[in-house]
């Protein structure tokens, strides 16, 4: 037993706490940063197609309805706009997800 034993114990205490945080608290700051980056990239990819797919889906659905009801081209036009709106809706949701993750 020497005089600096309590000091050494305190250091050990700090190291134990750090180890516990590493295991339970999970990741360090940079790991979270890179995860956020890849999430942003993924969100960009998600947005890239929504409009096109929305419009094409609307056109297809409208064409089907028109074809079966003989109302060309009205439902095609209506559903095209609905599809566009749906695409915009999906993009807005994606954008909100990104904001939520960034916070």
């Amino acid at each position: 037993m020497t005089e600096n034993d309590p000091e050494r114990l305190q250091k050990l205490d700090a190291r134990l706490k750090a180890a516990r945080e590493r295991i339970e608290g999970g990741s360090g700051a940079d790991r979270q940063q890179s995860a956020a980056d890849s999430k942003l990239a993924a969100a960009g990819w998600r947005m890239s197609l929504e409009l096109v797919v929305g419009i094409v889906f609307g056109l297809g659905l409208g064409w089907l309805v028109d074809f079966s009801l003989g109302t060309k081209p009205w439902f095609m036009i209506i559903f095209m706009f609905l599809g566009l709106a749906a695409g915009i809706l999906n993009i807005m949701r994606t954008a909100r997800d990104i904001q939520r993750h960034q916070r």
């Binding site: 037993m1 309590p6 114990l9 205490d13 134990l16 295991i23």
Partner: protein, 163 residues
């Protein structure tokens, strides 16, 4: 585009279903439980080591506390022993002083009483000597012979007058 050839659809769908179901079964039954087990064991082990370290640290702290307590105890014991010794010494000193004072008082009393006795003796002697002296002086001066006891009475009277 070969992708749009509808004759390729049904075989691809069929084999995709086979492949994916096979993959799912392999992963869920065989592969993932193994990986999960290894990860679980590691976590347990790390947790165990950490707990052991925490326990050892607690033990070390306990030992340290016991050590500090024993030092404090020893110090307190020494202190009380010291206090006791000091008190004993003080008591002995006081007793001896008291004894000395008592003895001194006794001796003083004896000496005082002795002085008193010799003083009264001396006073009585002075009376007889003064009476004798007065008788001798009277006879010498006047030629009258004075009785010793008369002279003594006269001296006594004078002493009483002056006292």
């Amino acid at each position: 585009m070969p992708q749009l050839d509808p004759t390729s659809f049904s075989p691809q769908l069929f084999w995709l279903a086979i492949a994916f179901i096979l993959l799912y079964l392999l992963m869920s039954r065989l592969v993932l439980p193994r990986v999960g087990k290894v990860l679980g064991q590691r976590e347990e082990r790390i947790q165990g080591n950490l707990e052991k370290a925490v326990k050892l640290k607690a033990e070390a702290e306990e030992v340290l506390a016991a050590y500090q307590k024993s030092i404090a105890d020893a110090r307190a014991e020494a202190h009380s022993a010291l206090n006791q010794a000091a008190a004993e010494i003080a008591a002995a000193t006081a007793a001896r002083e008291a004894d000395f004072a008592r003895k001194l008082a006794e001796q003083t009393a004896v000496a005082e009483s002795r002085i008193k006795v010799s003083k009264t003796q001396a006073l009585a002697d002075i009376r007889t000597v003064a009476g004798d002296l007065a008788a001798a002086m009277t006879s010498k001066l006047t030629g009258v012979t004075v009785n010793g006891s008369d002279a003594g009475g006269a001296v006594e009277a004078v002493l009483k007058e002056r006292a």
